[in-house]
């Protein structure tokens, strides 16, 4: 257990310091743009931004990529098994996503409170009533994207560049096929049922109410699927 603790500590502590650099840069840029546009326009009334969580999303996607590229080599050098590396990486994703979701929840709600024109990502979708569900949703949302990028990088590493390109083409083709199915093959009733199901999965009920648990559950299932997929790939991953 000491080994597992040390590897989790390594993953979390070496990623932690970059969070504050990210936020410092983000808010400095937002502040600079706001002041510049405000001074040029002569008023600050219509100056502003929304959904700063998207920036965090990009950051956690980068984290998902680096989660494999950098750390896998370092940890395999230090004799850790792929199972331990996987556990530590997922722990790091959860740790970083948890902190960033907390910061974004607090900042998003405060900014909305100060300036009603600002909308956070979660607030725009579900409102500002439930802070805990706001944090939980963002947390799972970020972990899902970390896990997705982690899985993609693992697959690219496993199958190589050429097959990855073919897989990308096939994936694009599948998307187009799904769109075509919805537009030309599926009946209007079936399309409505699918959209309704997806809306409910994200908490938007047919009677117009919002269920806060469903989106969290949906994201949890997505995270679990991506996590199982990542583990299936990493357990056969070799150092290149």
């Amino acid at each position: 257990m000491k080994n597992l603790k040390s590897i989790i500590q390594y993953e979390c502590m070496t990623s932690f310091k970059y969070i504050w650099i990210f936020y410092a840069i983000q808010y400095a840029i937002v502040g600079l743009i706001t002041i510049t546009i405000g001074l040029i326009m002569g008023t600050f009334e219509d100056v502003g931004t929304n959904c700063l969580e998207i920036n965090t999303l990009i950051y956690v996607c980068v984290l998902g990529v680096l989660g494999f590229n950098e750390d896998f080599k370092m940890l395999i050098q230090n004799g850790f098994t792929r199972k331990y590396i996987y556990i530590a990486t997922i722990a790091m994703f959860c740790f970083i996503s948890g902190i960033m979701a907390l910061v974004d929840t607090v900042v998003g709600n405060m900014m909305h409170l100060i300036n009603n024109n600002y909308s956070s990502l979660y607030g725009a979708l579900y409102g500002y009533d439930n802070l805990f569900m706001n944090w939980l949703w963002l947390f799972l949302f970020y972990v899902a994207f970390c896990s997705l990028l982690y899985l993609i990088v693992l697959v690219i590493n496993r199958v190589g560049k050429n097959i990855s390109i073919y897989l990308g083409v096939v994936f694009g083709g599948v998307i187009l096929l799904i769109i075509a199915l919805f537009r030309y093959v599926f009946s209007a009733e079936l399309v409505r049922d699918i959209v309704e199901f997806l809306m409910q999965a994200m908490g938007f009920m047919t009677d117009g109410t919002i269920n806060y648990i469903f989106p969290a559950l949906t994201l949890f299932v997505i995270v679990a699927i991506l996590g199982i997929g990542s583990y299936a790939v990493i357990r056969r991953t070799e150092l290149k």
């Binding site: 000491k2 080994n3 040390s6 590897i7 500590q9 390594y10 070496t14 950098e70 750390d71 080599k73 370092m74 395999i76 050098q77 230090n78 004799g79 850790f80 098994t81 792929r82 199972k83 331990y84 357990r235 056969r236 070799e238 150092l239």
Partner: protein, 286 residues
Amino acid sequence: MKAIQIKNVTKQYKDVIALDNVSFSFEYGKIYGFLGRNGAGKSTLINIIANRIFADSGEVLIDDIPAKENMKIHDKIFCMSEADLYDTNLKIKDLFKWTDRFYDDFDKEKAMKIANKFNLNINKKFKALSKGYQSIFKLTVALSLNVPYVIYDEPVLGLDANHRELFYDLLLKDYENSERTIIIATHLIEEVANIIEEVVLIDKGKVLLQNNVNSLLETGFSVSGLAHEVDAYCADKNVIGYDELSNLKIAYVLDEKTPLPKTANLSLSAMNLQKLFVKLTEKGDQ
């Protein structure tokens, strides 16, 4: 059994067989030279032992424990790699700190002392070090880990002569102080010839030879003279190679020495490890 046992290990990359049903052991408490030409399969086998890549078939046991994906061997073996696998953005002192946390048997104080002997700047980031100092960092970690099996893969890559001498000196002192198995994979055969006790020679994915260095040097010799006399003397011997010039011939033999015929004008010479290595691997080419 206290040993690294390699059992019927095979590894293939597309149409190249990197390791072909390799079986042998690195016994506990010896210094091994793991020798082979470029592409012979040394790094592939080291990577399989260190669980970095997987064998297609066969297995590796460390003290009878399967090495594949097994944390039970974490504190038994350490492999210093030729490749740079460390986090290049971390400072050397931080890399020491993390190694100390990862391994129960890492002596951080010893690492600091060794770093000092090599003038390694521990406040520099790994990526800011020269190739030679990156190697020094890696071997400092390996020298400071008190695990039963330590593998050095090209340990003196980029090191100047003074640092190489210092490394070999530290390695031997370390071995004297605490018994363990040290495996040195290198091309610089003559440099390690005086250190190693056992040799494992690998070529084209197969083990050509595993023997004690002293007995190898005792049985390895060259015989030179007129070609027909050399051929006659070597008729029933294990000849691993020839050099020929006009009607003169040198035969390199790995066998028991027998008295030279009194009528023949032949001379015997000792064969060093490097010559033995070259001739054995040349034989593989033919």
